[in-house]
């Protein structure tokens, strides 16, 4: 139970609250108010992300809005309509307005879900560009994140439970190495071996452009396999290591000892006592990883030219398509925040002890 005292600088936890009986502990049904507090934080964080998105182009050297306008005019070969000009200036800076006015205009723009117009794909709006990439990324990285988590956590429990065993001797060092390997490099290797040497899988793209219906979906699976496999490969080691160490630690807790003393089957001891508790930190990590899905495999997508958000961002970077860059960032930032909120809620659900943390 965390106790906030008035003079916290020197005040350690007083003896009383920790040892006061029943009612003290029952008194706090504050899961909901805990969530309200967290929600408050995430609203503030969302505001910060939006503001950062506002400030970034304005802090950068040069004048992005002027550059964008010039570029757009060059691309489109015509004078831009005034409302487009206003929109760009709201998003990327208006030299004639003071910062506060700009900020208001920017917020108004966002409220209408107007993220501006793409330069490289003029005149497609940014929101359209971004949403074209979203499903691909969600599918690819979403599914692989779940698979990597399940695989890594499961194996982590096994290696942790049988720490010192054969599985541990092989998997733990291997995972240490694998989790340190740059994942885009793994993607390159996979592409080289399975894409070109063995020619088992297509080397780029997300689907067969000629296929339709069921054939289209099958092609999506085939195109997605290699990128998915490399993501799972790079990611599961981290889960495994974390889970292994948590399991090793948890297995030495008294309640696991008691579960063994009770003569429960090993499976029950592992799952309901050791893993259930060891998994608590992983749950948060998992929800966060889901939040990282959108921005999580940027480079893998690039290696395989996979038509997701990451490839979009790369494309935007190389083509100096600032509106798309900013739009992607905002999308990534907001999904991370939502995922964090989900992580907190999940934690409250899986751990009955959670009430309040700093």
């Amino acid at each position: 139970m965390s106790v906030a005292t008035s003079d916290a600088a020197v005040a350690p936890t007083p003896e009383t609250p920790g040892s006061t009986p029943t009612t003290t502990r029952l008194r706090v049904p504050s899961r909901w108010s805990f969530m309200v507090r967290r929600l408050g934080f995430y609203l503030a964080a969302a505001w910060a992300a939006i503001t950062l998105n506002f400030l970034l182009p304005r802090m950068m050297p040069g004048d992005p809005s002027v550059a964008i306008i010039q570029q757009l005019q060059r691309v489109s070969g015509q004078q831009l309509p005034p409302e487009t000009l206003v929109s760009i200036q709201a998003l990327f800076g208006n030299p004639d307005a003071n910062l506060f006015e700009q900020y208001l205009a920017y917020l108004g723009q966002l409220a209408r879900f107007d993220l501006g117009t793409s330069i490289s794909r003029f005149p497609t709006p940014v929101s359209e560009v971004v949403s074209s990439g979203l499903p691909w990324t969600l599918m690819l990285v979403g599914s692989t994140t779940v698979i990597a988590f399940v695989l890594g956590t499961g194996l982590g429990v096994l290696t942790g439970w049988k720490a010192g065993g054969r599985l541990d001797a092989i998997l733990t060092p291997a995972s240490t190495f694998i989790s340190a390997v740059p994942y885009f490099w793994v993607a390159l290797l996979a592409l080289w071996v399975f894409g070109f040497q063995l020619d088992w899988f297509p080397s780029s793209g997300g689907y067969d452009p000629d296929a339709e219906g069921v054939a289209f979906w099958l092609s999506a699976l085939r195109y997605g396999f290699l990128p998915a496999a490399t993501i799972v490969f790079s990611a599961f080691g981290g889960w495994l290591l974390g889970m292994r160490n948590m399991t090793v630690t948890t297995v030495r807790e008294d309640y696991v000892l008691l579960a063994q003393a009770k003569g429960l089957s090993p499976g029950r001891v592992v799952l309901r006592y050791a893993a259930r508790n060891a998994m608590l930190p992983s749950f948060t990590g998992f929800a966060l990883a889901l939040g990282g899905v959108i921005g999580g495999a940027l480079l893998t997508e690039i290696v395989f030219s996979y038509p997701g958000i990451g490839y979009l961002l790369y494309d935007a970077l190389t083509k100096r398509d600032y509106p798309v860059m900013q739009g992607v960032f905002l999308l990534i930032a907001l999904t991370v925040l939502v995922a964090n909120l989900v992580a907190d809620s999940v934690y409250v659900l899986v751990d009955p002890r959670v009430r309040e943390q700093g």
Partner: protein, 350 residues
């Protein structure tokens, strides 16, 4: 080995009339436990031998580093690396007259079948011993349904309520998580849990160290009543000799991994034979008797990796003679107790 003769006489001498005197439930001989390290093993428990009568309360008293916790995990076969049993036997005698089973060489499958139905354990901190993310009732149900094949959820629930009732916890607490209960209630719950499968032996590791004296008295009162009603034997391990003197039939005193004295509670209090027992007894100031200046036991317990030669207690012993530093003291039997001290041998007394 002369253990056979010794043990028989010892158990006859020392079993201070356990209720019904229905024989031995646990027979521990020469139990030796080591912690394996890079440069060999550190022996934390050496040649521990004792018998426990059915329904008897045996107290094991010792200070930090005396090996009492090691002994508990070895007895319950719950030890983990780097601890390992290197010698000795722990024979458990089932109540139905089947032959005794040595727990030491037993495989995990056979052990699992014996666990909780024959021997259960109560740990020092109930907060740590209960699964924090499971409701109390579920923690009862899983052990009940593991050992009573065919017991359904409803029956397990009924039994759980009955068990909680035995220690004065109301039925609705089965729905509580451990953190929602007070320390005293948690500890009582773990005692009820220990009785779930009607074991013949309950091992208690410092069961009341984490609670206050009033709660300690309540818990011990409950344990003693339940023992009277259900007939299980109890091993209580603690550093608090003053508590053991009140609750135990017999007491074993551990020092540097050995049982240096074992005997009836009264004998150990009135006529302690080992100087260490004497020192330990005199480390508890009286509550009512006239006060004198007491000194406890000067010095510090030995490092198990570097045990003194001869009697491990000799560097702190107020009555040590020269031979104590070179000769290992034998176990000497007295009417109500037995102790390992050179001064008790016929040569020394003559």
């Amino acid at each position: 080995m002369t253990a056979d003769i010794r043990d028989h006489t010892a158990s006859q001498h020392l079993a201070d009339g356990p209720p019904g005197d229905a024989g031995t439930v646990l027979d521990v001989r020469d139990l030796t436990v080591s912690y394996v390290g890079p440069d060999g093993g550190t022996v934390a428990c050496r040649d521990v031998t004792f018998q426990l009568g059915r329904g008897e309360v045996l107290g094991i008293a010792g200070e930090s580093g005396s090996g009492k916790s090691t002994l508990i995990t070895a007895l319950t076969r719950l030890q983990r690396p780097p601890a390992t049993t290197t010698a000795g036997s722990i024979v458990f005698h089932p109540s139905d007259g089947r032959p005794g089973i040595d727990l030491v060489p037993l495989g995990s499958r056979e052990l699992r079948r014996l666990r909780w139905t024959s021997m259960s354990i109560v740990l020092q901190s109930a907060m740590d011993a209960l699964n924090p993310v499971m409701r109390l009732g579920d923690q009862f149900a899983d052990v009940l349904r593991t050992h009573h094949r065919g017991m359904d959820r409803a029956a397990a629930k009924v039994r759980t309520v009955e068990l909680l009732g035995m220690v004065g916890i109301s039925a609705d607490r089965a729905r509580s998580f451990p953190h929602e209960m007070s320390g005293g209630m948690r500890q009582r719950a773990t005692i009820a849990l220990a009785l779930a499968c009607s074991p013949q032996l309950v091992v208690m590791d410092e069961p009341t160290t984490a609670v206050d004296v009033v709660m300690q008295r309540q818990i011990m009162a409950q344990v003693l009543r339940l023992r009277r009603e259900l007939g299980f034997a109890v091993i209580i391990v603690t550093h608090d000799l003053s508590l053991l003197l009140e609750v135990a039939d017999r007491i074993a005193i551990m020092y540097a991994g050995r049982i240096v004295e074992i005997g009836s509670a009264e004998a150990l209090y009135r006529t302690p034979a080992h100087p260490y027992t004497r020192g330990l007894r005199d480390s508890f100031p009286p509550l009512h008797a006239p006060l004198t200046t007491l000194h406890g036991i000067p010095g510090t317990p030995p490092d198990l990796r570097r045990l003194p030669t001869g009697c491990p207690f000799h560097p702190r012993c107020p009555v040590a003679v020269e031979a104590c530093s070179s000769t290992k003291p034998p176990l000497v039997h007295l009417p109500d107790q037995a102790a390992e001290c050179l001064l008790l041998t016929p040569e020394a007394t003559s």
